[in-house]
């Protein structure tokens, strides 16, 4: 499987970085930069900011590769978490605006349902997550999507969906509790 081969390559390359091997970082970059650029660009919405953040992401990988433990985490998960955190930190620094256009719960469910199908094609973990997201109420899915894909805060989501802040916190916390329970009951 390509996915497995990629994973092995990534794990090996990450393992060589702490010794100062630049070609290992280049291998990681070659295998992952298009995905991570997509993730960062989706959150920031602006190319030049996204390029700055992507550079920062790989410099972080260079410094922190020694913390990556292949026995505990998937390399792609580790890299995506770094990319999302760096992009969100940049958003919070306030130089560029978060996505704030109002979102309508009903419209977003259709979108989510369509992408659940495409997720089925891209691996078991994606299918499992899509299945569990599908069990959530429409407004819960919409709120989680705004947080994950647009990097919105509680306050921003409350504003976009026109609900009080306390309601938004309650929606998201309940949704995360249900999501965890569902994923754990469907473990392979």
């Amino acid at each position: 499987l390509d996915l497995e081969a990629n994973r092995a390559l990534l794990v090996a390359a990450l393992g060589r970085i702490p010794a100062g091997d630049r070609t290992a970082l280049q291998t990681v970059y070659r295998l992952t930069s298009a995905k991570l650029f997509g993730v960062v660009l989706r959150i920031l919405g602006e190319r030049s900011e996204a390029e700055d953040v992507l550079q920062d992401v790989y410099l972080t990988v260079w410094r922190k590769a020694g913390d990556f433990d292949a026995a505990r985490a998937s390399p792609m998960t580790w890299l995506i978490a770094i990319a999302r955190n760096r992009a969100i930190d940049r958003l919070r620094a306030g130089r560029i605006a978060s996505r704030m256009e109002p979102i309508d719960a009903a419209a977003e469910i259709a979108d989510g349902a369509a992408s659940a199908e495409s997720a089925l094609a891209s691996g078991e973990a994606s299918a499992r997550l899509a299945g569990c997201l599908g069990t959530l109420a429409g407004h819960e899915q919409t709120a989680l999507r705004g947080a994950f894909f647009d990097g919105n805060t509680y306050e921003e989501l409350a504003q976009r969906m026109s609900v009080p802040l306390g309601t938004m916190k309650s929606w998201i916390r309940r949704a995360m509790i249900k999501l965890k329970a569902c994923l754990e009951s469907n473990e392979p």
Binding site: S33, G38, S74, A81, R84, N85, R173
Partner: protein, 232 residues
């Protein structure tokens, strides 16, 4: 109030905070506090990592976008310079580690010998800089010449910070001495006033600072070790 946060769920507060941090929904001080806990608390970091693992497959929905070709060059340029090849014995870290160990041993033996008599005025001062169970550097002050020689022992640096040496007079504030090198010994000339402080029972300490040294004149980074100067 129906809008209140539901605490009847089965997840403890820390687990919910980890979920909120991984999802990215926290802002401002709350996000900073959670990020700080990730670096300090392994149990909390593990909860965040578990949530990252649960949510990451969602990124499969995001289309790949090739970054501009010159971005890799920007990254490569921003990496710290590669370690220069070590050629001579003077530049050999392994040699200096053995030397540092040997000189520390010799210093200990000498100290025992000298304990029986009185230390000569103008005798060299030595300090083993230790912390966290490791001896990172060994320093020798040449009182006559006004120099301090610092040899790396078990020091492992990181890519972003440099070791800086401080002299702390008894009851006083740390005084900056100079930047050290984790790969080879350095000799730093120190002013007479600092030599006098060193001879008066001072302590040496090493902290990790931004490249170029502490911007404030006082240690800003973690102190990785310290040791008292004693006369040979």
């Amino acid at each position: 109030v129906s809008d209140a946060i539901d605490h009847s769920g089965r997840l403890p507060e820390d687990e919910l905070l980890a979920a909120e941090y991984a999802l990215g929904v926290l802002g401002g001080a709350e996000r900073e506090a959670a990020a700080h806990r990730v670096t300090r608390e392994p149990a909390f970091a593990a909860m965040v990592a578990a949530w990252d693992e649960r949510l990451a497959p969602w990124a499969g929905e995001i289309a790949e976008v090739a970054p501009p070709p010159q971005l890799w060059d920007r990254i490569a340029t921003a990496l710290p310079p590669p370690q220069p090849a070590r050629a001579s014995l003077w530049d050999s870290l392994a040699f200096w580690r053995v030397f540092a160990l040997a000189s520390a041993l010799a210093a200990a033996c000498l100290a025992v010998v000298i304990y029986l008599g009185a230390a000569r005025p103008g005798a060299p001062l030595v300090a083993a800089i230790e912390g966290g169970g490791q001896r990172s550097f060994v320093a020798t002050v040449d009182v006559r010449r006004g120099t301090i020689a610092v040899v790396p022992a078990a020091f492992t640096g990181d890519a972003t910070r440099v070791p800086e040496l401080w002299l702390i007079p008894p009851g006083g504030k740390p005084l900056p001495v100079g930047l050290l090198n984790g790969d080879k010994p350095v000799v730093i000339a120190i002013p007479a006033a600092l030599v006098a402080q060193a001879a008066g029972g001072a302590t040496l300490a090493v902290s990790l600072e931004p490249p170029g040294g502490s911007p404030t004149g006082a240690p800003t980074g973690p102190v990785i070790g310290a040791g008292k100067l004693t006369a040979l």
